[in-house]
């Protein structure tokens, strides 16, 4: 949705800069997650190192977005949809930073796995990655396009990711019992799965914030009575 121009041009500029930084941060986090997984699947240590190095840039953007958000709240005291956009942008940056952290953790685990013979069980992680990445991309799309339906749809997909994680963990634990020599490797894969499950949780948070920004509806914790 394109809002009419604000009477204060500087407000529109500040809000646009905030939004652009959020989208840039989302792009960097997405790239890091993709590189970390490619580093794992292709056993590529360089990609893992790039992912770990890029995390600093994501962290810097998080601080910048928080600073810019507080600055907008202080200078313009936005209300209604403007207020929701600023608050949501600041909350998004926190979740994006954590997705960047999960990517870094995956890259670190991948580097450890790459020091040993490859494990066929990496295939168990791939469906989780596809599910988590698609949730992540769609949640950012929901925010960027203020698409309420897409945001709601992302929330419902988290359960499948949780199921995939439980299933992969169960199979990996079985393999640990069958092949104790590879125990560390299977353990690292379990941790990678847990990281992807957390990515899904952050994508869900982003989708919920996107819905709040677009429609002022709080869809978190639906078992609680809505207060909006």
């Amino acid at each position: 949705m394109i809002a009419p121009r604000h009477i204060l041009g500087t407000f529109d500029e500040s809000l646009a800069a905030l939004r652009n930084n959020v989208l840039m941060m989302a792009g960097l986090s997405e790239r890091s997650l993709g590189r970390a997984m490619k580093g794992l699947v292709d056993r590529n240590d360089d990609l893992c190192a790039n992912t770990i190095a890029d995390d600093e840039e994501i962290d810097q953007l998080e601080k910048q977005i928080d600073k810019d958000g507080v600055d907008i709240l202080l200078r313009f005291q936005p209300v209604a949809s403007d207020l929701r956009r600023v608050v949501s942008a600041m909350k998004l940056s926190t979740n994006l930073e954590r997705i960047g952290d999960q990517a870094t953790t995956i890259a670190r685990r991948a580097r450890k796995l790459n020091q040993h013979p490859s494990l066929a069980e990496v295939e168990l992680i791939k469906p989780m990655y596809e599910q988590a990445m698609s949730m992540f991309k769609d949640s950012v799309d929901a925010f960027a396009r203020e698409d309420v339906d897409l945001g709601c749809a992302v929330v419902t997909r988290d359960e499948k990711l949780d199921d995939l994680n439980h299933e992969a963990s169960r199979k990996l634990i079985e393999r640990m019992a069958q092949d104790p020599d590879q125990l560390r490797g299977y353990l690292n894969l379990i941790f990678v799965g847990r990281c992807l499950e957390r990515v899904g949780d952050h994508a869900t948070n982003i989708a919920e914030d996107a819905v709040y920004a677009a429609a002022a509806q709080d869809i978190r914790h639906p078992s609680l009575t809505a207060t909006t």
């Binding site: 313009f76 005291q77 936005p78 403007d82 207020l83 929701r84 929330v155 869809i219 639906p222």
Partner: protein
Amino acid sequence: MVNVVMTTPEQSVTERIERPAQPPVSAEPAPKLTFEAKNVSIWYGEKRAIENVSLDIASNAVTAIIGPSGCGKSTFLRALNRMHELVPKTRMDGTVLLHGEDLYSKTVDPAIVRRRVGMIFQKSNPFPTMTIGENVIVGLRLNGVRNHKFLNERLEKSLRMAALWDEVKDDLHKPGTSLSGGQQQRLCIARSLAVEPEVILMDEPCSALDPIATAKIEELIHELKAKYTIVTVTHNMQQAGRISDYTAFMYLGRLIEFGPTTKIFTNPTEKQTEDYITGRFG
């Protein structure tokens, strides 16, 4: 588990998510009303200042009226105590009920209405020839009260309610105009309280005050609503957000939207309201 279900566009987002059955939530009781304005239109000569405004004002709450200059908010405020009639060639249509009683009935004396419904103006206006004490009790004196003990008691009570007593108790004999701008405004509030009104109307009461004096008036408004119904006009949206329970948005003489302040300032229903409060008007 949450599932998105296909629904009509009219349904809210939260309604589109399946959720476990909830216990029924009892509806909040309707607030007690002080004013019921129905289809109020006011003309100044040929010019129609407000058009078919219907608005219920809840008791013991602060209602803020916002809108751009010339939208009719001050005219509507003045219609609540018939003060607009002081402008020549004024005509009014519609009804205004105060606790169910028609304020515009032929049997109602406008002077009595203005005593029941006090008003605070943008610029503080203490009587320049009177002392601080005389300013507070002038309304009672004009109504024939002569009992000194009663007047002194009411003087102290009014100044205390206006949060001014501690600052002026030793200077009651000094001119009202010797006070600072913020103190003068609180003196005017004390003067209004002295005649024990049922309602206090405020027309941009803080627009000429510094932030400290503004904060004191806002705190006072918050305290006074326990006893009085307050209706205020303000151009300061942040102030409306801070002090009011309900907000009405007017534009070009019409009431565009009215509702709880939190709703108006986070998710207004009307696009005109959204555009105005977010600074995208015109």
